[in-house]
Symmetry: C2
Subunit: 192 residues, 2 copies
DNA sequence: GTCTATAATTCGATAGAC
DNA sequence: GTCTATCGAATTATAGAC
């Protein structure tokens, strides 16, 4: 547990600028095309500063890809609304900034990114699935979590990464109306 | 219409070897990391041959990423089974070779790959959605097609690209049992 | 802490011998 | 048709001046 604020460094502003620029570049270009030079230029600093602060490109990505889904407390949601609330929350979270898009882009091409993506969904989504799981065996909860992840990630890929025109144009409420029942069923319906 | 077999060239075997190696490399490494040198080495030929045959890297990718989903004729399927049949078919198609995985990987990081992915799903999946669409306005069919694509792509990302352990371990029949009703609903249920 | 200069690779693409 | 040799450009990463 971090009792005090963790190691307050002199120029945290520069570090934050680097991380923000890194997230944007990783999201826009993917891991390979996002160059340290471009990130440094966006942040208005010298490329060697990035190396000094984060060691290498992988270290920079690791620092830039911390992410909290901030999933709501399911106990406070009417049981019948859980699917819709979760879908709406994910849309918000995805559009709030480009971190999740960056993570997805990198996760697809880079092992480190893939592992980070796995950790995020396992540690943050699986507990919700476990709390709602109607099965006798608790092992099924991770199956349900991955089903939810598949639908959420698939819509994110279609809407924010591949940019399929109908997915981009679909109003937010409509996405919630279509995907909400799917997520609801994955979390609460009896196993087939 | 191609009346005769299209331009039979001398060493089509070499070309085929290059395309097979290219598909594997693009699938494993993505567009940027998949180098012409590595592809040529896998194919057991000289890198300059790749350039000679396909002009440049983009031409090679374009040739390696032709893909026919070979979707079944929906008219021949019992209406209630369409979702399950489509999901099972997509799983088959995805596991048959690595072309779809390569396409997805490249589509996420490369504009040319993204466009190819869009074309494949639009031209091959949208007609099926249109044939089944219960809405009065035909414009809704593309929305339904993209919903199906989102669930199929999401499972493919989870299972074949990011390799979420529960998605990888889930038996094929179970994936069909969970996703089949979802696809069925996206295609045939009344719009919400 | 910040920047310049540069080392060490690697890649796509070209030219040309055979 | 096939291969060798190489150019030119871009990248990560390092060494060191200020």
């Amino acid at each position: 547990m971090a009792m005090t604020s963790p190691a307050p460094r002199r120029s945290d502003a520069t570090r934050a600028a680097i991380l923000a620029a890194a997230r944007d570049r990783f999201a826009a270009d993917g891991y390979e095309r996002a160059t340290i030079r471009a990130i440094a230029k966006d942040a208005g600093i010298d490329p060697s500063m990035v190396m000094r602060y984060y060691g290498n490109k992988e270290g920079l990505f690791a620092a830039a890809s911390e992410f909290d889904l901030r999933l709501p407390d399911v106990a406070a949601i009417p049981p019948g609304d859980i699917g819709a609330v979760l879908v709406a929350h994910f849309l918000d979270r995805w559009e709030e900034d480009e971190t999740l898009t960056a993570l997805l882009r990198v996760g697809v091409t880079n092992p480190a990114g893939s592992e980070r993506m796995q950790t995020i969904f396992k540690r943050q989504l699986a507990p919700i699935a476990a709390a709602l799981c109607p099965d006798p065996e608790p092992g099924r909860a991770t199956d349900r979590a991955v089903l939810v992840a598949s639908q959420i990630l698939g819509m994110a890929v279609s809407r924010y990464v591949l940019c399929f025109p109908p997915a981009v144009a679909m109003p937010r409420e409509e996405v919630v109306a279509w995907l909400g029942p799917t997520v609801q069923r994955y979390l609460t319906a009896a196993a087939p």
